[in-house]
Symmetry: C2
Subunit: 212 residues, 2 copies
């Protein structure tokens, strides 16, 4: 086991440190976030720091980098209050990763990468047609983090699209079945395989495996 | 593709809705968080909503449920400013899941589940000895989310322990190699397998695979 102090980490080259610190906190929920600006120009960007905040109300948060590093998604959400979150699958992984390139504000990542915008009546922002699990969000609050100028964007889930076959009898969505990917660090993408599901843990009982 | 509106989701039984909404946002970074109270009594709890906030300074955040649902970790961190985050592996997955049971404040989840506390000179809170990737944190800020009384706990990484073999030449930590798990929903745990790593995306280039 190797021990690194934060002083050593600080002394590292920024790319080495970026890879190391980005991966040390574990696998992430990588997804594509779709938005539009005030003139309805679409934007699409890959985000990996997505958290479940609560089921009732159904809230999801994501971390947006500092405004100068990642301005378009954030300003579009500020202006329209609307965005979509779209899972990523192996079939279009390269295109999804390519949305992380710095395109100009007037350039659409849909056009540049070849992913297809899917417009619906009830959501201003476009979905990604190729994605098998997608949901629309209504902005609740943008919380700036003073430590490093990132933002926690808090949103409420509105409409959800998911293949029926993936929804199990107890409501669990089998994302391995639909091939939603996880990510690690800045640039690693992973498939998953279920080890186990467990029953609700009780203080006076041994853990029980659920039928998976 | 099935379409669910938020009105339908709200009408569901709370367990079904909890499973569905907890899994729809994707795979998560599940870890055990170790703390102590003011009398140095250890506490250990499983958390799955962990985000990377930044590499310089090295900041990690996690979401803590409302205080009445999950009081011990939060109040220990408020009192001591110190906590550890420990990855979970297949070898002790049942014990890790069992820490989610509601034990009384005076009961130690280490004792109850059979996981081993590992005390070090430079960190007040205990690590989990069985964990192959662990890091200590210094509290920066606790941000309450007014939408549902959850909290974003922002901390700075202090000391990191990781097997040398997992750290690649560019700093990337190969968590598949050490068997760190991901989670889905409230109770699903997953192994991962690498699909690809990609070079930094550029607006005028096609995506390039890195040697994995």
């Amino acid at each position: 086991m190797k021990h690194f102090t934060i002083q050593e980490v600080k002394s590292w080259d920024r790319f080495y440190r970026g890879n190391f610190i980005n991966s040390i906190s574990g696998f992430k929920s990588v997804s594509l976030i779709g938005t539009v600006d005030q003139e309805n120009n679409p934007n699409l960007a890959i985000f990996s720091n997505i958290v479940h905040l609560g089921a009732d109300p159904a809230l999801v948060g994501f971390i947006n980098r500092p405004r100068e590093a990642s301005p378009h998604t954030l300003s579009n959400i500020e202006h329209t209050g609307s965005y979509t979150i779209n899972h990523i699958h192996e079939e279009f992984l390269e295109k999804a990763h390519q949305t992380s390139a710095k395109y100009a504000k007037h350039e659409s990542e849909f056009e540049k990468t070849g992913l297809s915008p899917l417009w619906t009546d009830h959501t201003k922002a476009p979905f990604v047609k190729e994605s098998k699990v997608r949901y629309s969000m209504e902005l609740q609050e943008i919380i700036p983090l003073k430590q490093n100028n990132t933002f926690l964007v808090v949103g409420a889930i509105q409409d959800i699209y998911v293949p029926s076959v993936a929804v199990q009898a107890d409501g669990y969505v089998d994302l391995e079945n639909v091939g939603s990917l996880a990510s690690l660090g800045i640039d690693g993408y992973y498939k998953t395989s279920l080890l186990n599901r467990y029953a609700y843990a009780k203080a006076d009982k041994e853990p029980t495996r659920l039928e998976a």
